[in-house]
């Protein structure tokens, strides 16, 4: 560190009676400054928000009663997924809710289901219908919408669940002992 030479030049001997001048050290103790520095670092590390929140776009279809405005859907190309309580997802292919099967958000199980169906279906007909039950959390809903983007599913819709479908979900939940 910066240090000044405070010793007298040449070290020549002073005569008797000449007072020795005190040698003052110009070394500064840096420890408090470093302490303060690290304190501030920890403070800013904890308070900083590095990532801005992002937004996910969601477009809804318009409710319509007219049959000619409604989207047509091939039975063989439809996959209905129903997120429900306990991070479980129930799904069935086609239009028959009694063929309900169980999957989960864990370990990407539902991703495999969607990709498997996608592989077996004509891409231009393939459609995923998302029907969260009343026990599903908002996180589940966003996750499944995100899954559509991850799996590059072009056509999907967020629809209300029918009482009939909910009956099957509830029955499966009861059978599996999920509360």
């Amino acid at each position: 560190m910066a240090e000044m030479d405070t010793s007298g030049g040449g070290g020549h001997k002073k005569g008797p009676g000449v007072k020795k001048s005190k040698k003052l050290s110009t070394r500064v103790d840096l420890t408090p400054m470093v302490d303060l520095g690290f304190l501030l670092i920890t403070f800013f590390i904890f308070t900083t928000t590095m990532s801005q929140p992002t937004a996910m776009k969601l477009n809804l279809p318009k409710d319509t009663q007219k049959p000619e405005e409604q989207n047509k859907l091939k039975e063989s190309a439809a996959l209905t997924v129903m997120p429900s309580k306990g991070d479980m997802v129930y799904y069935y292919e086609g239009l028959d809710p009694s063929k309900i099967q169980t999957s989960t958000f864990k370990k990407n199980a539902i991703r495999d289901v969607i990709l498997d169906k996608k592989r077996r279906t004509d891409p231009k007909d393939f459609m995923v219908i998302i029907k969260p039950t009343k026990d599903a959390t908002y996180k589940n809903t966003v996750n499944i919408l995100d899954e559509m983007k991850i799996d590059d599913v072009k056509r999907y819709a967020l629809v209300d669940i029918t009482p009939d479908e909910y009956k099957f979900v509830a029955a499966t939940e009861q059978a599996n002992g999920i509360k």
Binding site: L30, V34, P53, A55, M56, L60, T137
Partner: protein, 214 residues
Amino acid sequence: MTAMCDVAFLLLSFFILATKFKPPEALSVTTPSSVSSKIAPEKNVVMITMDRDGKVYFSVSDANHPEKKDIIDEINTSKNLGLTDAEKKNFSNNPSAYIGVPFSMLKSYLDKTPDQLKGINLPGIPCQDSTNNELVDWIRAAVQVSAGGGFNGGHMNLLVKGDDAAKYPSFQGVIIAFKKNDQLKFQLVTNPVAAPPGSELDKVQKAAGNKVAE
């Protein structure tokens, strides 16, 4: 010692410059994560917040004072609430003001100062069933203000910010409120995460030369 000191202060200056303080949020919400990489808009925002209990709150972005005033005026006249100017100002001049009460409680809610509101458990805007969905009226007021040239000429951004633990029926109530006002495009506020490696989206993004996907 000197080197460590140098590094420490380099880090310090970096964090001081890079930091952006979170505005003190009265509502704490943990948003779910998504692969979306589009930054959420900050201006001209009409925000619907759902907390962990599924209660719904309505707020408008800080910068939009005139729109806030118009919205509360609109609600006041359409619902005959008889709000005083001071009560209206309490909403429009307070940057972090949000509405979390039914119309019946709105007057007494706006009488309170921000200090008095601390620690009060608000009931949220009723919207869980379609017969008594007051959020519809709030959105309608916002849409009217937007159609009348508010929000920088009608560029209103509808944002939904929900907590992980909020149940689906609250979200459904919000969707119903949007649909009844023909607001079919909106955005969900999320935390960004990278696309899972090997997934379809990952391949698409790589093929596009890591272009930002919307």
